[in-house]
Protein backbone atom coordinates (compact mmCIF):
# COMPACT_ATOMS: atom_id res chain seq x y z
CA UNK A 1 0.00 0.00 0.00
CA UNK A 2 1.54 3.26 -1.05
CA UNK A 3 0.87 6.52 0.73
CA UNK A 4 -1.62 8.74 -0.97
CA UNK A 5 0.00 12.15 -0.49
CA UNK A 6 0.47 12.89 -4.21
CA UNK A 7 -3.11 11.87 -4.96
CA UNK A 8 -4.47 14.01 -2.16
CA UNK A 9 -2.44 17.05 -3.24
CA UNK A 10 -3.54 16.81 -6.89
CA UNK A 11 -7.14 16.21 -5.84
CA UNK A 12 -7.14 19.20 -3.49
CA UNK A 13 -5.56 21.56 -6.00
CA UNK A 14 -8.09 20.73 -8.71
CA UNK A 15 -10.91 20.96 -6.21
CA UNK A 16 -9.80 24.43 -5.11
CA UNK A 17 -9.50 25.52 -8.76
CA UNK A 18 -13.11 24.68 -9.54
CA UNK A 19 -14.30 26.21 -6.27
CA UNK A 20 -12.72 29.49 -7.35
CA UNK A 21 -14.44 29.14 -10.72
CA UNK A 22 -17.75 28.60 -8.96
CA UNK A 23 -17.53 31.97 -7.25
CA UNK A 24 -16.31 33.80 -10.35
CA UNK A 25 -19.23 32.31 -12.32
CA UNK A 26 -21.61 34.95 -10.93
CA UNK A 27 -19.87 37.46 -13.18
CA UNK A 28 -19.67 35.14 -16.18
CA UNK A 29 -22.15 36.19 -18.91
CA UNK A 30 -23.14 38.80 -16.32
CA UNK A 31 -26.84 39.15 -15.75
CA UNK A 32 -28.51 42.53 -15.55
CA UNK A 33 -30.26 41.54 -12.37
CA UNK A 34 -29.48 38.36 -10.43
CA UNK A 35 -32.59 38.79 -8.26
CA UNK A 36 -34.78 36.91 -10.73
CA UNK A 37 -35.35 33.17 -10.90
CA UNK A 38 -34.66 33.15 -14.65
CA UNK A 39 -31.14 34.38 -13.89
CA UNK A 40 -30.26 32.50 -10.71
CA UNK A 41 -32.20 29.33 -11.45
CA UNK A 42 -31.87 29.08 -15.23
CA UNK A 43 -28.67 31.00 -16.00
CA UNK A 44 -30.60 33.62 -17.95
CA UNK A 45 -32.23 31.03 -20.24
CA UNK A 46 -29.50 31.85 -22.69
CA UNK A 47 -27.02 28.96 -22.92
CA UNK A 48 -25.74 28.10 -26.38
CA UNK A 49 -24.74 24.77 -27.87
CA UNK A 50 -21.40 24.19 -26.16
CA UNK A 51 -22.45 25.27 -22.69
CA UNK A 52 -25.58 23.15 -22.93
CA UNK A 53 -23.55 20.16 -24.03
CA UNK A 54 -21.22 20.43 -21.05
CA UNK A 55 -23.98 21.36 -18.62
CA UNK A 56 -26.49 18.68 -19.56
CA UNK A 57 -23.72 16.11 -19.98
CA UNK A 58 -22.36 17.00 -16.55
CA UNK A 59 -25.89 16.87 -15.21
CA UNK A 60 -27.12 13.54 -16.55
CA UNK A 61 -23.92 11.56 -16.13
CA UNK A 62 -23.28 12.03 -12.43
CA UNK A 63 -20.41 10.99 -10.20
CA UNK A 64 -22.64 8.33 -8.75
CA UNK A 65 -23.28 6.95 -12.24
CA UNK A 66 -19.55 6.89 -12.80
CA UNK A 67 -18.86 4.80 -9.70
CA UNK A 68 -22.07 2.78 -9.44
CA UNK A 69 -22.39 1.52 -13.02
CA UNK A 70 -18.91 -0.08 -13.11
CA UNK A 71 -19.62 -1.40 -9.62
CA UNK A 72 -22.75 -3.07 -10.95
CA UNK A 73 -20.80 -4.57 -13.86
CA UNK A 74 -18.16 -5.72 -11.40
CA UNK A 75 -20.80 -7.50 -9.35
CA UNK A 76 -23.37 -8.72 -11.86
CA UNK A 77 -21.88 -8.42 -15.33
CA UNK A 78 -23.97 -7.73 -18.43
CA UNK A 79 -27.06 -6.64 -16.46
CA UNK A 80 -25.15 -3.50 -15.41
CA UNK A 81 -24.59 -2.51 -19.03
CA UNK A 82 -28.24 -1.35 -19.23
CA UNK A 83 -26.80 2.14 -18.77
CA UNK A 84 -25.80 2.14 -22.44
CA UNK A 85 -29.18 1.37 -24.07
CA UNK A 86 -30.71 3.62 -21.41
CA UNK A 87 -28.62 6.59 -22.44
CA UNK A 88 -29.26 5.88 -26.14
CA UNK A 89 -33.03 5.72 -25.79
CA UNK A 90 -33.24 8.97 -23.89
CA UNK A 91 -32.12 11.33 -26.66
CA UNK A 92 -34.80 10.63 -29.26
CA UNK A 93 -37.29 11.01 -26.41
CA UNK A 94 -35.80 14.38 -25.50
CA UNK A 95 -35.89 15.34 -29.16
CA UNK A 96 -39.58 14.57 -29.55
CA UNK A 97 -40.97 15.45 -26.13
CA UNK A 98 -38.77 17.83 -24.14
CA UNK A 99 -38.48 20.19 -27.08
CA UNK A 100 -42.18 20.92 -26.66
CA UNK A 101 -41.67 21.57 -22.96
CA UNK A 102 -38.89 24.00 -23.83
CA UNK A 103 -41.15 25.89 -26.24
CA UNK A 104 -44.15 26.15 -23.96
CA UNK A 105 -41.91 27.12 -21.03
CA UNK A 106 -40.13 29.72 -23.12
CA UNK A 107 -43.43 31.24 -24.17
CA UNK A 108 -44.93 31.31 -20.67
CA UNK A 109 -41.82 31.69 -18.51
CA UNK A 110 -42.27 28.32 -16.78
CA UNK A 111 -39.31 27.41 -14.56
CA UNK A 112 -40.36 23.93 -13.44
CA UNK A 113 -42.33 21.03 -14.93
CA UNK A 114 -44.96 21.64 -12.25
CA UNK A 115 -45.46 25.20 -13.56
CA UNK A 116 -46.39 23.69 -16.89
CA UNK A 117 -48.76 21.15 -15.34
CA UNK A 118 -50.49 23.86 -13.32
CA UNK A 119 -51.18 25.96 -16.36
CA UNK A 120 -52.01 23.12 -18.72
CA UNK A 121 -54.46 21.34 -16.43
CA UNK A 122 -55.54 24.38 -14.43
CA UNK A 123 -54.79 22.50 -11.22
CA UNK A 124 -52.52 23.77 -8.43
CA UNK A 125 -53.08 20.46 -6.64
CA UNK A 126 -51.75 18.40 -9.53
CA UNK A 127 -48.80 20.81 -9.76
CA UNK A 128 -48.17 20.32 -6.03
CA UNK A 129 -48.18 16.55 -6.52
CA UNK A 130 -45.67 16.85 -9.37
CA UNK A 131 -43.50 19.26 -7.37
CA UNK A 132 -43.41 17.12 -4.24
CA UNK A 133 -42.66 13.99 -6.27
CA UNK A 134 -39.80 15.87 -7.94
CA UNK A 135 -38.34 17.10 -4.67
CA UNK A 136 -38.60 13.72 -2.95
CA UNK A 137 -37.00 11.96 -5.92
CA UNK A 138 -34.18 14.48 -6.21
CA UNK A 139 -33.09 14.68 -2.56
CA UNK A 140 -31.59 11.19 -2.30
CA UNK A 141 -29.99 11.69 -5.71
CA UNK A 142 -28.06 14.63 -4.25
CA UNK A 143 -27.05 12.51 -1.27
CA UNK A 144 -25.74 9.88 -3.67
CA UNK A 145 -23.34 12.35 -5.19
CA UNK A 146 -21.73 12.40 -1.77
CA UNK A 147 -21.47 8.64 -1.91
CA UNK A 148 -19.46 9.13 -5.10
CA UNK A 149 -17.04 11.55 -3.41
CA UNK A 150 -16.84 9.30 -0.37
CA UNK A 151 -15.77 6.32 -2.48
CA UNK A 152 -12.83 8.38 -3.72
CA UNK A 153 -11.90 9.72 -0.28
CA UNK A 154 -12.00 6.24 1.18
CA UNK A 155 -9.65 4.98 -1.49
CA UNK A 156 -7.21 7.80 -0.76
CA UNK A 157 -7.31 6.75 2.89
CA UNK A 158 -8.95 9.99 3.99
CA UNK A 159 -10.99 8.48 6.78
CA UNK A 160 -11.21 9.04 10.49
CA UNK A 161 -12.48 7.23 13.53
CA UNK A 162 -15.10 9.58 14.88
CA UNK A 163 -18.27 10.45 13.01
CA UNK A 164 -17.11 14.02 12.49
CA UNK A 165 -13.55 13.24 11.41
CA UNK A 166 -14.74 10.71 8.87
CA UNK A 167 -17.11 13.13 7.24
CA UNK A 168 -15.20 16.39 7.62
CA UNK A 169 -13.88 16.49 4.03
CA UNK A 170 -17.38 15.96 2.62
CA UNK A 171 -18.89 18.58 4.88
CA UNK A 172 -16.24 21.09 3.80
CA UNK A 173 -16.69 20.22 0.13
CA UNK A 174 -20.44 20.65 0.31
CA UNK A 175 -20.16 23.88 2.31
CA UNK A 176 -18.03 25.36 -0.48
CA UNK A 177 -20.44 24.02 -3.10
CA UNK A 178 -23.41 25.47 -1.22
CA UNK A 179 -21.73 28.87 -0.96
CA UNK A 180 -20.97 29.28 -4.65
CA UNK A 181 -24.28 27.84 -5.80
CA UNK A 182 -25.98 30.35 -3.51
CA UNK A 183 -24.03 33.15 -5.07
CA UNK A 184 -23.84 32.15 -8.74
CA UNK A 185 -26.86 29.90 -9.28
CA UNK A 186 -26.90 27.74 -12.41
CA UNK A 187 -23.92 29.63 -13.86
CA UNK A 188 -21.63 27.89 -11.33
CA UNK A 189 -22.24 24.29 -12.43
CA UNK A 190 -22.30 25.43 -16.07
CA UNK A 191 -18.79 26.84 -15.78
CA UNK A 192 -17.42 24.00 -13.64
CA UNK A 193 -18.87 21.44 -16.04
CA UNK A 194 -16.19 22.40 -18.57
CA UNK A 195 -13.41 21.31 -16.20
CA UNK A 196 -15.29 18.29 -14.94
CA UNK A 197 -16.07 16.90 -18.37
CA UNK A 198 -12.62 17.61 -19.76
CA UNK A 199 -11.06 15.72 -16.83
CA UNK A 200 -13.48 12.82 -17.18
CA UNK A 201 -12.82 12.49 -20.91
CA UNK A 202 -9.05 12.48 -20.38
CA UNK A 203 -9.21 9.95 -17.56
CA UNK A 204 -11.52 7.53 -19.36
CA UNK A 205 -9.66 7.67 -22.66
CA UNK A 206 -6.36 7.03 -20.91
CA UNK A 207 -7.94 4.26 -18.85
CA UNK A 208 -9.46 2.36 -21.75
CA UNK A 209 -6.27 2.53 -23.80
CA UNK A 210 -3.69 2.09 -21.04
CA UNK A 211 -5.36 -0.48 -18.76
CA UNK A 212 -5.83 -3.22 -21.38
CA UNK A 213 -2.14 -3.02 -22.27
CA UNK A 214 -1.36 -3.78 -18.63
CA UNK A 215 -4.03 -6.47 -18.32
CA UNK A 216 -3.41 -8.40 -21.55
CA UNK A 217 -5.99 -6.78 -23.83
CA UNK A 218 -9.78 -6.54 -23.72
CA UNK A 219 -10.18 -10.18 -24.77
CA UNK A 220 -8.50 -11.47 -21.66
CA UNK A 221 -10.29 -8.91 -19.47
CA UNK A 222 -13.64 -10.30 -20.64
CA UNK A 223 -12.37 -13.85 -20.19
CA UNK A 224 -11.32 -13.11 -16.62
CA UNK A 225 -14.79 -11.71 -15.94
CA UNK A 226 -16.45 -14.73 -17.48
CA UNK A 227 -14.34 -17.04 -15.33
CA UNK A 228 -15.42 -15.16 -12.22
CA UNK A 229 -19.12 -15.32 -13.10
CA UNK A 230 -18.95 -19.01 -14.02
CA UNK A 231 -17.46 -19.73 -10.61
CA UNK A 232 -20.02 -17.65 -8.71
CA UNK A 233 -23.17 -19.32 -7.37
CA UNK A 234 -25.41 -16.45 -8.58
CA UNK A 235 -27.40 -17.60 -11.62
CA UNK A 236 -28.11 -14.09 -12.91
CA UNK A 237 -24.57 -12.88 -13.51
CA UNK A 238 -22.44 -13.38 -16.61
CA UNK A 239 -20.99 -11.39 -19.47
CA UNK A 240 -24.20 -11.81 -21.48
CA UNK A 241 -27.83 -11.83 -20.35
CA UNK A 242 -29.75 -15.01 -19.61
CA UNK A 243 -33.38 -15.91 -20.26
CA UNK A 244 -34.54 -14.51 -16.91
CA UNK A 245 -33.08 -11.03 -16.83
CA UNK A 246 -33.63 -9.83 -20.40
CA UNK A 247 -37.04 -8.31 -19.71
CA UNK A 248 -35.61 -6.60 -16.65
CA UNK A 249 -32.72 -5.29 -18.77
CA UNK A 250 -34.88 -3.64 -21.41
CA UNK A 251 -37.65 -2.42 -19.11
CA UNK A 252 -35.03 -0.94 -16.80
CA UNK A 253 -33.39 0.83 -19.76
CA UNK A 254 -36.74 2.16 -21.01
CA UNK A 255 -38.02 3.10 -17.56
CA UNK A 256 -34.77 4.80 -16.55
CA UNK A 257 -34.75 6.82 -19.77
CA UNK A 258 -38.29 7.98 -19.17
CA UNK A 259 -37.48 8.75 -15.53
CA UNK A 260 -34.34 10.68 -16.37
CA UNK A 261 -36.07 13.22 -18.50
CA UNK A 262 -38.77 13.74 -15.89
CA UNK A 263 -36.20 14.48 -13.18
CA UNK A 264 -36.34 18.19 -12.34
CA UNK A 265 -32.59 18.61 -12.82
CA UNK A 266 -32.62 17.38 -16.44
CA UNK A 267 -35.49 19.73 -17.19
CA UNK A 268 -33.61 22.62 -15.57
CA UNK A 269 -30.62 21.90 -17.82
CA UNK A 270 -32.80 21.84 -20.93
CA UNK A 271 -34.82 24.96 -20.06
CA UNK A 272 -31.59 26.93 -19.62
CA UNK A 273 -30.72 26.59 -23.31
CA UNK A 274 -31.44 29.48 -25.58
CA UNK A 275 -33.42 27.99 -28.46
CA UNK A 276 -34.78 24.84 -30.03
CA UNK A 277 -31.83 24.42 -32.34
CA UNK A 278 -29.43 24.21 -29.38
CA UNK A 279 -31.47 21.35 -27.92
CA UNK A 280 -31.93 19.46 -31.16
CA UNK A 281 -28.28 19.63 -32.09
CA UNK A 282 -27.30 18.54 -28.61
CA UNK A 283 -29.34 15.39 -28.98
CA UNK A 284 -26.83 14.34 -31.63
CA UNK A 285 -23.83 15.43 -29.59
CA UNK A 286 -24.73 14.23 -26.09
CA UNK A 287 -24.43 10.51 -26.95
CA UNK A 288 -20.66 11.09 -26.87
CA UNK A 289 -21.13 10.80 -23.11
CA UNK A 290 -22.95 7.49 -23.53
CA UNK A 291 -19.89 6.15 -25.31
CA UNK A 292 -17.79 7.32 -22.40
CA UNK A 293 -20.16 5.77 -19.89
CA UNK A 294 -20.09 2.46 -21.75
CA UNK A 295 -16.30 2.38 -21.69
CA UNK A 296 -16.26 3.36 -18.05
CA UNK A 297 -18.77 0.64 -17.23
CA UNK A 298 -16.37 -1.90 -18.71
CA UNK A 299 -13.73 -0.81 -16.21
CA UNK A 300 -15.77 -2.94 -13.82
CA UNK A 301 -14.41 -5.92 -15.78
CA UNK A 302 -10.93 -4.44 -15.78
CA UNK A 303 -11.24 -4.34 -11.99
CA UNK A 304 -12.07 -8.04 -11.98
CA UNK A 305 -9.08 -8.79 -14.20
CA UNK A 306 -6.74 -6.86 -11.94
CA UNK A 307 -8.08 -8.57 -8.81
CA UNK A 308 -9.52 -5.51 -7.09
CA UNK A 309 -11.00 -6.25 -3.68
CA UNK A 310 -13.59 -3.63 -2.69
CA UNK A 311 -13.08 -1.82 0.61
CA UNK A 312 -15.29 -2.70 3.58
CA UNK A 313 -18.70 -1.02 3.76
CA UNK A 314 -20.28 1.05 6.49
CA UNK A 315 -21.62 -1.94 8.39
CA UNK A 316 -19.67 -4.97 9.53
CA UNK A 317 -19.28 -7.76 6.98
CA UNK A 318 -20.39 -5.81 3.91
CA UNK A 319 -18.23 -4.44 1.09
CA UNK A 320 -18.55 -1.04 -0.55
CA UNK A 321 -18.54 -2.04 -4.22
CA UNK A 322 -18.56 1.64 -5.23
CA UNK A 323 -14.87 1.69 -4.43
CA UNK A 324 -13.88 -0.70 -7.24
CA UNK A 325 -13.13 1.93 -9.90
CA UNK A 326 -11.23 4.27 -7.54
CA UNK A 327 -9.26 1.23 -6.32
CA UNK A 328 -8.52 0.19 -9.89
CA UNK A 329 -7.14 3.65 -10.66
CA UNK A 330 -5.15 3.60 -7.45
CA UNK A 331 -3.59 0.23 -8.31
CA UNK A 332 -2.87 0.81 -11.98
CA UNK A 333 -2.16 4.50 -12.50
CA UNK A 334 0.85 6.55 -11.37
CA UNK A 335 -0.07 8.50 -8.24
CA UNK A 336 -0.39 11.92 -9.89
CA UNK A 337 -2.74 10.60 -12.56
CA UNK A 338 -4.80 8.70 -10.00
CA UNK A 339 -5.16 12.08 -8.26
CA UNK A 340 -6.49 13.60 -11.49
CA UNK A 341 -8.91 10.70 -11.89
CA UNK A 342 -10.17 11.09 -8.33
CA UNK A 343 -10.61 14.82 -8.84
CA UNK A 344 -12.62 14.07 -11.99
CA UNK A 345 -15.02 11.93 -9.97
CA UNK A 346 -15.11 14.36 -7.04
CA UNK A 347 -15.77 17.39 -9.23
CA UNK A 348 -18.17 15.24 -11.19
CA UNK A 349 -20.29 15.08 -8.06
CA UNK A 350 -20.43 18.84 -7.66
CA UNK A 351 -22.01 19.70 -11.00
CA UNK A 352 -25.11 17.51 -10.71
CA UNK A 353 -25.43 18.18 -6.97
CA UNK A 354 -25.58 21.91 -7.70
CA UNK A 355 -28.10 21.56 -10.53
CA UNK A 356 -30.26 19.15 -8.54
CA UNK A 357 -30.38 21.44 -5.54
CA UNK A 358 -31.29 24.37 -7.80
CA UNK A 359 -34.04 22.33 -9.46
CA UNK A 360 -35.48 21.20 -6.12
CA UNK A 361 -35.31 24.77 -4.81
CA UNK A 362 -37.12 26.10 -7.88
CA UNK A 363 -39.90 23.55 -7.40
CA UNK A 364 -40.33 24.58 -3.80
CA UNK A 365 -40.32 28.28 -4.62
CA UNK A 366 -42.65 28.21 -7.58
CA UNK A 367 -45.10 25.50 -6.70
CA UNK A 368 -45.25 25.57 -2.90
CA UNK A 369 -44.01 28.95 -1.64
CA UNK A 370 -45.58 31.15 -4.29
CA UNK A 371 -48.64 28.98 -4.69
CA UNK A 372 -49.56 28.44 -1.07
CA UNK A 373 -47.45 30.61 1.23
CA UNK A 374 -47.06 33.98 -0.47
CA UNK A 375 -49.11 34.49 -3.56
CA UNK A 376 -47.82 37.99 -4.30
CA UNK A 377 -44.11 37.11 -4.10
CA UNK A 378 -42.00 39.30 -6.39
CA UNK A 379 -39.25 38.04 -8.71
CA UNK A 380 -36.67 39.09 -6.13
CA UNK A 381 -38.55 37.18 -3.41
CA UNK A 382 -38.62 34.08 -5.59
CA UNK A 383 -34.89 34.25 -6.25
CA UNK A 384 -34.16 34.78 -2.54
CA UNK A 385 -36.35 31.89 -1.40
CA UNK A 386 -34.82 29.61 -4.03
CA UNK A 387 -31.29 30.46 -2.94
CA UNK A 388 -32.08 29.71 0.70
CA UNK A 389 -33.92 26.51 -0.19
CA UNK A 390 -30.93 25.29 -2.19
CA UNK A 391 -28.86 25.59 1.01
CA UNK A 392 -31.44 23.70 3.05
CA UNK A 393 -31.56 20.93 0.45
CA UNK A 394 -27.78 20.47 0.59
CA UNK A 395 -27.68 20.42 4.37
CA UNK A 396 -30.36 17.73 4.22
CA UNK A 397 -28.30 15.68 1.77
CA UNK A 398 -25.18 15.89 3.95
CA UNK A 399 -27.19 14.95 7.03
CA UNK A 400 -28.50 11.86 5.20
CA UNK A 401 -24.98 10.66 4.53
CA UNK A 402 -23.49 11.57 7.91
CA UNK A 403 -26.23 10.30 10.19
CA UNK A 404 -27.81 7.48 8.21
CA UNK A 405 -26.42 4.39 6.56
CA UNK A 406 -25.52 5.38 2.95
CA UNK A 407 -27.49 2.32 1.92
CA UNK A 408 -30.58 4.25 2.95
CA UNK A 409 -29.85 6.91 0.32
CA UNK A 410 -29.26 4.23 -2.29
CA UNK A 411 -32.64 2.69 -1.47
CA UNK A 412 -34.30 6.08 -1.61
CA UNK A 413 -32.75 6.84 -4.97
CA UNK A 414 -34.03 3.54 -6.30
CA UNK A 415 -37.49 4.49 -5.09
CA UNK A 416 -36.97 7.99 -6.50
CA UNK A 417 -36.49 6.67 -10.03
CA UNK A 418 -39.72 4.72 -9.76
CA UNK A 419 -41.80 7.52 -8.26
CA UNK A 420 -40.62 10.22 -10.65
CA UNK A 421 -41.99 8.01 -13.42
CA UNK A 422 -45.43 8.49 -11.91
CA UNK A 423 -45.41 12.08 -13.14
CA UNK A 424 -45.07 10.91 -16.76
CA UNK A 425 -48.79 10.98 -17.65
CA UNK A 426 -49.13 14.59 -16.46
CA UNK A 427 -45.81 16.00 -17.66
CA UNK A 428 -44.94 13.97 -20.77
CA UNK A 429 -48.36 13.08 -22.16
CA UNK A 430 -49.61 16.49 -21.06
CA UNK A 431 -47.30 18.03 -23.63
CA UNK A 432 -49.27 16.32 -26.38
CA UNK A 433 -52.82 16.10 -25.13
CA UNK A 434 -55.13 17.45 -22.50
CA UNK A 435 -57.48 14.53 -22.85
CA UNK A 436 -56.63 13.07 -19.43
CA UNK A 437 -58.64 14.78 -16.69
CA UNK A 438 -56.77 16.57 -13.89
CA UNK A 439 -58.61 14.53 -11.24
CA UNK A 440 -57.80 11.32 -13.11
CA UNK A 441 -54.11 12.20 -13.27
CA UNK A 442 -54.08 12.56 -9.49
CA UNK A 443 -55.91 9.24 -9.11
CA UNK A 444 -53.44 7.53 -11.45
CA UNK A 445 -50.54 9.00 -9.51
CA UNK A 446 -51.94 7.68 -6.22
CA UNK A 447 -52.40 4.21 -7.70
CA UNK A 448 -48.93 4.21 -9.28
CA UNK A 449 -47.27 5.35 -6.07
CA UNK A 450 -49.10 2.81 -3.95
CA UNK A 451 -48.29 -0.08 -6.25
CA UNK A 452 -44.63 1.04 -6.54
CA UNK A 453 -44.20 1.02 -2.78
CA UNK A 454 -45.78 -2.41 -2.45
CA UNK A 455 -43.68 -3.93 -5.23
CA UNK A 456 -40.40 -2.45 -4.00
CA UNK A 457 -41.22 -3.63 -0.48
CA UNK A 458 -41.57 -7.18 -1.80
CA UNK A 459 -38.10 -7.35 -3.34
CA UNK A 460 -35.43 -8.93 -1.13
CA UNK A 461 -31.70 -8.68 -1.68
CA UNK A 462 -29.82 -11.83 -0.74
CA UNK A 463 -26.43 -10.12 -1.22
CA UNK A 464 -27.06 -7.49 1.45
CA UNK A 465 -29.34 -9.81 3.47
CA UNK A 466 -32.29 -7.46 3.46
CA UNK A 467 -35.91 -8.49 3.06
CA UNK A 468 -37.26 -5.28 1.49
CA UNK A 469 -36.27 -2.56 -1.00
CA UNK A 470 -33.51 -4.84 -2.26
CA UNK A 471 -33.66 -3.75 -5.89
CA UNK A 472 -35.93 -2.83 -8.76
CA UNK A 473 -36.20 -6.24 -10.43
CA UNK A 474 -39.62 -7.60 -9.53
CA UNK A 475 -40.14 -11.37 -9.92
CA UNK A 476 -43.13 -11.96 -12.18
CA UNK A 477 -43.94 -15.06 -10.13
CA UNK A 478 -45.31 -12.69 -7.47
CA UNK A 479 -48.10 -11.83 -9.91
CA UNK A 480 -48.86 -15.53 -10.27
CA UNK A 481 -46.90 -16.19 -13.47
CA UNK A 482 -45.05 -19.48 -13.54
CA UNK A 483 -41.64 -18.04 -14.40
CA UNK A 484 -38.36 -16.85 -12.98
CA UNK A 485 -38.31 -13.74 -15.14
CA UNK A 486 -38.12 -10.31 -13.57
CA UNK A 487 -39.36 -6.88 -14.65
CA UNK A 488 -38.54 -3.28 -13.71
CA UNK A 489 -41.01 -2.02 -11.10
CA UNK A 490 -41.37 1.48 -12.56
CA UNK A 491 -42.35 0.09 -15.94
CA UNK A 492 -45.30 -1.84 -14.50
CA UNK A 493 -46.46 0.89 -12.16
CA UNK A 494 -46.45 3.68 -14.74
CA UNK A 495 -48.62 1.53 -17.00
CA UNK A 496 -51.05 0.92 -14.13
CA UNK A 497 -50.97 4.64 -13.37
CA UNK A 498 -51.91 5.40 -16.97
CA UNK A 499 -54.65 2.79 -17.04
CA UNK A 500 -56.27 4.22 -13.90
CA UNK A 501 -55.95 7.74 -15.31
CA UNK A 502 -57.78 6.68 -18.48
CA UNK A 503 -60.58 4.91 -16.59
CA UNK A 504 -61.10 7.77 -14.14
CA UNK A 505 -61.04 10.28 -17.03
CA UNK A 506 -63.91 8.42 -18.68
CA UNK A 507 -65.85 8.42 -15.41
CA UNK A 508 -65.22 12.10 -14.67
CA UNK A 509 -66.19 13.08 -18.19
CA UNK A 510 -69.38 11.06 -17.99
CA UNK A 511 -70.11 12.86 -14.70
CA UNK A 512 -69.38 16.21 -16.43
CA UNK A 513 -66.77 17.21 -13.83
CA UNK A 514 -65.14 20.51 -14.91
CA UNK A 515 -61.72 19.97 -16.47
CA UNK A 516 -60.49 23.55 -16.01
CA UNK A 517 -59.16 25.95 -18.60
CA UNK A 518 -56.04 25.21 -20.61
CA UNK A 519 -53.59 28.07 -20.05
CA UNK A 520 -51.55 27.14 -23.12
CA UNK A 521 -52.29 27.23 -26.84
CA UNK A 522 -51.49 24.71 -29.50
CA UNK A 523 -48.83 26.85 -31.14
CA UNK A 524 -47.06 27.54 -27.83
CA UNK A 525 -45.54 24.10 -28.22
CA UNK A 526 -43.56 25.19 -31.27
CA UNK A 527 -42.48 28.66 -30.12
CA UNK A 528 -38.81 29.45 -30.62
CA UNK A 529 -36.31 32.10 -29.63
CA UNK A 530 -37.49 35.56 -30.65
CA UNK A 531 -41.15 34.59 -30.55
CA UNK A 532 -43.09 37.87 -30.60
CA UNK A 533 -45.43 36.71 -27.87
CA UNK A 534 -42.74 35.95 -25.31
CA UNK A 535 -42.96 38.36 -22.43
CA UNK A 536 -40.11 37.93 -20.01
CA UNK A 537 -41.87 39.82 -17.23
CA UNK A 538 -44.88 37.61 -17.47
CA UNK A 539 -45.09 35.28 -14.54
CA UNK A 540 -46.30 32.10 -16.02
CA UNK A 541 -48.34 30.69 -13.22
CA UNK A 542 -51.10 33.25 -13.47
CA UNK A 543 -51.30 33.56 -17.25
CA UNK A 544 -54.72 32.68 -18.58
CA UNK A 545 -54.89 32.15 -22.29
CA UNK A 546 -56.96 34.64 -24.18
CA UNK A 547 -57.87 32.35 -27.03
Amino acid sequence: MRDHITEIVVFTLLFLLVSGMGFVAARWRAPKDMAHLDEWGLGGRNFGGWITWFLVGGDLYTAYTFVAVPALIFGAGAAGFFAVPYTIIIYPMFFLILIRLWSVSHRHGFVTPADFVRSRFDSPTLALVVAITGIVATMPYIALQLVGIEAVLKTMGVTGDSLLARHAPIIIAFAILAAYTYQSGLRAPALIAFVKDALIYIVILVAVIYLPTKLGGWGSIFDAAEAKFTASPNANDGITLNANNQIQYVTLALGSALALFLYPHSITGVLASKNRTVIKRNMSALPAYSFLLGLLALLGYAAIASNVKPLPGATQGTVDSNTVVPLLFDMQFPAWFAGVAFAAIGIGALVPAAIMSIAAANLFTRNIYKEYLRKNASHADEARVSKITSLVVKVGAVACIVFLDPQFSIDLQLIGGVIILQTAPAVALGLFTRWLHRGALIAGWVAGMGLSMWMLWQIPNPATKRAHFGGSAFPLSEFGFDTKRTIYVGFVTVLVNLLIAVIVTLILRAAKTPAGVDGTRQDDYFADEGDPRVDRDLTAVETPSST
Binding site: F81, V84, I88, F222, A285, S290
Partner: protein, 78 residues
Protein backbone atom coordinates in the same frame (compact mmCIF):
# COMPACT_ATOMS: atom_id res chain seq x y z
CA UNK B 1 -54.85 12.86 -30.06
CA UNK B 2 -53.88 16.53 -30.37
CA UNK B 3 -56.54 19.21 -30.25
CA UNK B 4 -57.57 21.01 -33.42
CA UNK B 5 -54.84 23.29 -34.63
CA UNK B 6 -55.35 26.97 -34.18
CA UNK B 7 -53.29 28.24 -37.08
CA UNK B 8 -52.52 31.89 -37.29
CA UNK B 9 -52.49 33.19 -40.85
CA UNK B 10 -48.92 34.49 -40.49
CA UNK B 11 -47.55 31.49 -38.66
CA UNK B 12 -45.07 30.12 -41.13
CA UNK B 13 -44.45 26.70 -39.68
CA UNK B 14 -46.28 26.23 -36.44
CA UNK B 15 -45.96 22.50 -36.19
CA UNK B 16 -43.48 19.84 -35.26
CA UNK B 17 -45.03 17.26 -37.50
CA UNK B 18 -42.78 15.61 -39.99
CA UNK B 19 -42.60 12.11 -41.42
CA UNK B 20 -38.89 12.22 -40.61
CA UNK B 21 -39.75 12.02 -36.89
CA UNK B 22 -40.66 8.36 -37.35
CA UNK B 23 -36.96 7.72 -37.82
CA UNK B 24 -36.46 8.52 -34.13
CA UNK B 25 -38.29 5.34 -33.21
CA UNK B 26 -35.31 3.34 -34.47
CA UNK B 27 -32.90 4.21 -31.63
CA UNK B 28 -35.70 3.65 -29.12
CA UNK B 29 -36.84 0.27 -30.43
CA UNK B 30 -33.62 -1.36 -31.64
CA UNK B 31 -31.73 -1.29 -28.28
CA UNK B 32 -34.70 -3.04 -26.69
CA UNK B 33 -34.44 -6.07 -28.98
CA UNK B 34 -32.03 -8.16 -26.91
CA UNK B 35 -32.03 -11.07 -29.38
CA UNK B 36 -29.99 -8.92 -31.78
CA UNK B 37 -27.02 -8.54 -29.50
CA UNK B 38 -27.26 -10.94 -26.56
CA UNK B 39 -24.34 -13.21 -27.48
CA UNK B 40 -20.61 -13.48 -26.95
CA UNK B 41 -19.46 -14.29 -30.50
CA UNK B 42 -18.30 -12.80 -32.81
CA UNK B 43 -15.82 -10.75 -30.85
CA UNK B 44 -14.37 -7.48 -32.12
CA UNK B 45 -11.01 -6.34 -30.70
CA UNK B 46 -11.70 -8.72 -27.82
CA UNK B 47 -15.13 -7.20 -27.09
CA UNK B 48 -17.99 -9.73 -27.04
CA UNK B 49 -20.83 -9.01 -29.50
CA UNK B 50 -23.08 -7.96 -26.60
CA UNK B 51 -20.87 -4.92 -26.02
CA UNK B 52 -19.68 -3.78 -29.42
CA UNK B 53 -23.12 -4.06 -30.98
CA UNK B 54 -24.58 -1.88 -28.24
CA UNK B 55 -21.78 0.62 -28.79
CA UNK B 56 -22.85 0.69 -32.46
CA UNK B 57 -26.38 1.62 -31.35
CA UNK B 58 -24.91 4.88 -30.05
CA UNK B 59 -23.96 5.70 -33.64
CA UNK B 60 -27.48 4.77 -34.70
CA UNK B 61 -28.84 7.29 -32.20
CA UNK B 62 -26.43 10.01 -33.33
CA UNK B 63 -27.18 9.30 -36.98
CA UNK B 64 -30.96 9.36 -36.71
CA UNK B 65 -31.15 12.51 -34.55
CA UNK B 66 -28.75 14.28 -36.93
CA UNK B 67 -30.78 13.32 -40.00
CA UNK B 68 -34.08 14.32 -38.40
CA UNK B 69 -32.63 17.63 -37.25
CA UNK B 70 -31.24 18.42 -40.70
CA UNK B 71 -34.40 17.43 -42.54
CA UNK B 72 -36.79 19.34 -40.28
CA UNK B 73 -34.85 22.58 -39.92
CA UNK B 74 -36.85 25.74 -40.26
CA UNK B 75 -37.09 27.09 -43.75
CA UNK B 76 -36.89 23.63 -45.18
CA UNK B 77 -40.14 21.96 -46.09
CA UNK B 78 -40.24 18.30 -45.13
Amino acid sequence: MAEPETREPDARRRTDRSPWNWLLLLPIVVPVLTFIYNRDEPRLFGFPAFYWIQFLFILLGVGTTTIVYQMTKRGRRP
